[in-house]
């Protein structure tokens, strides 16, 4: 029990460390990107390459820690208590979907192109365009880059689907022999059972192996996308990805808190009504359970 508790604490600490590191990288990326915009040169490209390489290294290190810890508490990674419910609703195999990376590329590339085309068409009509021009490197994706990204996209979705099938099969195992039959045959629901523990240990171990595979796919996909993008495009992409990840955590936490506060308010109103009605007619007070 103590050992298990330590593993979970380690997992959470590892996650917090990872999030903290991502926060640190944001100003570093911003600084180099700003420098690139003011005076683009080869040296700056090298710095960007170095920084994006470091960031891939960060991801690999975190994945390695997860791989180690997952073999001791894999289900805690599939539904992490350190995530907000919203984040957990959106994750796949304990992390982000690799195919989401492509959606991010398309969203940045597309929206930035829309802005620039709109500006350009206005210029044609004689309008003056004073603003814009900043941070729009992904709207410069070339045909060759789009083609390479598309080939990779098709391949990664295929890999993702294969992995999803594996985890589907594992999930179904929980409703099969011996877990389901032992539960059925038990006199008292939920009694400890050696056979079940062994089966669940086996299942969690399989889930741990899949988590490692999934993390490898995530790292591999990210590295390959960065291999297609130019240094400045890669930095912009990573910056957007980190901002999104950290924002989703804050947004999810905030939304959950707001929802809980709403429940508290409801109880207060209910109590007030009860007070008003007390006296001539006795009423039963119902306790609302939280969650």
């Amino acid at each position: 029990m103590g050992s298990s508790s330590k593993n979970i604490e380690q997992a959470q600490d590892s996650y917090l460390e990872w999030m903290s590191l991502q926060s640190q990288r944001i100003p570093e990326l911003k600084q180099l990107l700003a420098q690139r915009r003011s005076h683009g040169d080869e040296d700056n490209d090298n710095k960007l390459r170095k920084l994006t390489g470091k960031i891939i290294g960060d991801f690999k290190n975190y994945a390695a820690k997860r791989a180690d810890l997952a073999h001791r508490c894999s289900s805690n990674y599939y539904a992490p208590t350190w995530n907000s419910p919203l984040e957990n609703a959106l994750i796949w195999m304990g992390g982000c979907r690799p195919s989401s990376f492509f959606r991010l590329v398309y969203a940045l590339c597309g929206s930035q192109t829309e802005i620039r085309v709109t500006q350009f068409l206005r210029n044609i009509d004689g309008y003056e365009s004073s603003g814009g021009g900043g941070g729009a490197s992904l709207s410069d994706l070339s045909a060759e880059q789009l083609a390479k990204i598309n080939v990779l996209h098709v391949k990664i979705i295929d890999e993702e689907e294969k992995m999803t099938k594996k985890v589907s099969s594992l999930q179904e195992d929980a409703a099969d022999i011996p877990i389901a039959t032992v539960a059925y045959e038990m006199e008292n629901v939920g009694e400890p059972n050696v056979v079940v523990d062994q089966a669940l240990d086996k299942q969690e171990e399989a889930m741990a192996r899949l988590l490692v595979e999934a993390d490898n796919l995530r790292v591999d996909t990210l590295a390959k996308i960065l291999g297609i993008l130019s240094p400045v495009q890669g930095a912009d992409f990573l910056l957007a990805g980190k901002k999104l990840h950290l924002s989703m955590h804050e947004w999810g936490t905030m939304r959950d808190r707001r929802r809980r506060d709403c429940m508290v308010d409801t109880e207060v109103i209910f109590d007030a009504c009860t007070t008003v009605n007390s006296g001539p007619r006795p009423t039963e007070t119902t306790n609302n359970e939280r969650n």
Partner: protein, 416 residues
């Protein structure tokens, strides 16, 4: 002989225009200049080129870029020294120029084809420059372009992309002696329409008799219902010196940009198009509105290659447009509905022609990437690619949710 003479005479009639004479002279000069620079290596390079896969075709613009940048890179002050060799090169190049076909440029075009926000890639693109030199085009080369948008799986669109052009080629190389009534142009048009229609018919027959696993329907053990709902749209364009022939089945689209105006060369086959609805209902089918008008509530296009289950309501027969080329023609855009659902034909036309303009405005920094890479802003081959790229990126920005496939053909710089 009399007919041949009449043809020549008619041709001369067209040459009377001084503008066209100047254009023709300019093209001849350009061809000679190119031949002078490349001579035999260029010719052998053309001969060695194999059929291009969709993605490998991205090498074509790059190769052409290299070729043209060599021309552009020749310093002017060295010209004097090259004068004597240039003269002899010109004389040597007389022979290659006379051959005509050997040195004629293929049309400049760009292709971009991406899965986009869909999780399945069912689109296919085929480009076959110099497909063949048929009699109907007086032994001059024709160029084939096509976009196929599959549904219910990629089997049919893949089959179309590997086979449709071979049918077109076979049909062109058959010398069917049809009735020669009417003017020469009418005869040519009728022949082209026949070629395209027969090719589509053969393609549909092949698609409906081939299972997803690749065997003939009677021989395979697959679930027949799965194979029966697989199909594809097909928009094809054949480019000759004088004409553009578009054959379309389904809701992909071909648009000609002429003097800044978008001219549709195809008309989307949607179930709620009045004449299509009438045809479907006459065939015993129904058009139901399920997330848009759909044949039997299933298919959002009213015509397609394949789709055995929905025959004969979902017809294979293409609508064919036979368009004479004009000097104001700027470009041709073929694309799947992943583009047209979010971009109007006119906007696509505006963007493509801006990308293709010779004097690119400095404010169009959208071309910066290509210029940075090539150190030369006058890369014509890259312009078609840029146009296709820009259209695709814009469609992504407007949240197209389907596969996006775009082909842009530069007609200003395509003499053939």
């Amino acid at each position: 002989m009399t007919e041949i003479y009449r043809t020549i005479s008619t041709g001369r009639g067209d040459d009377v225009s001084p503008t066209k004479c100047r254009e023709r002279r300019r093209r001849r000069i350009e061809m000679r200049r190119q031949a002078a620079v490349f001579g035999e290596p260029s010719s052998s390079r053309n001969r060695d080129r194999t059929d291009m896969e969709v993605y490998s075709s991205f090498d074509v613009p790059l190769r052409k870029q290299a070729r043209r940048s060599e021309i552009g890179g020749l310093p002017a002050d060295i010209g004097g020294f090259l004068a004597p060799p240039a003269a002899s090169s010109c004389q040597k190049s007389e022979a290659p120029v006379w051959k005509g076909e050997e040195t004629e440029d293929e049309p400049l075009y760009g292709i971009v084809s991406v899965m986009g926000r869909s999780r399945k890639m069912e689109d296919s693109v085929t480009v076959k420059p110099n497909l063949c030199k048929p009699e109907v085009n007086r032994q001059r080369p024709v160029h084939f372009f096509a976009v196929y948008d599959g549904h219910g799986g990629s089997q049919v669109s893949t089959l179309c992309s590997t086979t449709m052009h071979t049918f077109v080629k076979e049909e062109l190389e058959q010398n069917l002696e049809e009735e020669e009534e009417g003017s020469e142009n009418d005869v040519v048009e009728r022949k082209w329409r026949g070629v395209m229609k027969r090719s589509f018919k053969r393609m549909d027959e092949m698609a409906t008799s081939t299972c997803v696993c690749g065997t003939s329907v009677p021989l395979c053990n697959c679930d027949p219902r799965e194979a029966a709902i697989s199909g594809s749209t097909a928009v094809t364009a054949v480019l000759t010196h004088d004409h553009i022939i578009v054959a379309n089945t389904g809701d992909s689209r071909a648009v000609l940009c002429r003097n800044g105006m978008a001219i549709p060369l195809s008309n989307d086959h949607k179930p709620d198009r009045p004449d299509e609805r009438a045809r479907i209902e006459a065939a015993g089918g129904r058009v139901l509105v399920v997330d848009g008008a759909r044949v039997e509530g299933i298919l959002a296009t009213s015509r397609a290659i394949g789709d055995r289950y929905l025959k004969p309501m979902v017809a294979w027969e293409p609508e064919v447009t036979f368009m004479r080329r004009e000097s104001g023609d700027e470009c041709l855009v073929l694309a799947s509905d992943g583009l047209w659902d979010v971009l109007s034909s006119q906007l696509a036309c505006d963007i493509a022609r801006f990308c293709l303009r010779e004097e690119t405005p400095s404010s169009l920094d959208l071309n910066r990437m290509a210029q940075e890479d090539d150190n030369d802003g006058e890369q014509n081959p890259s312009r078609s690619v840029l146009a296709a790229t820009l259209l695709t990126r814009l469609a992504l920005g407007r949240q197209s949710s389907d596969n996006i496939s775009v082909v842009v053909i530069d007609l200003k710089n395509s003499s053939q």
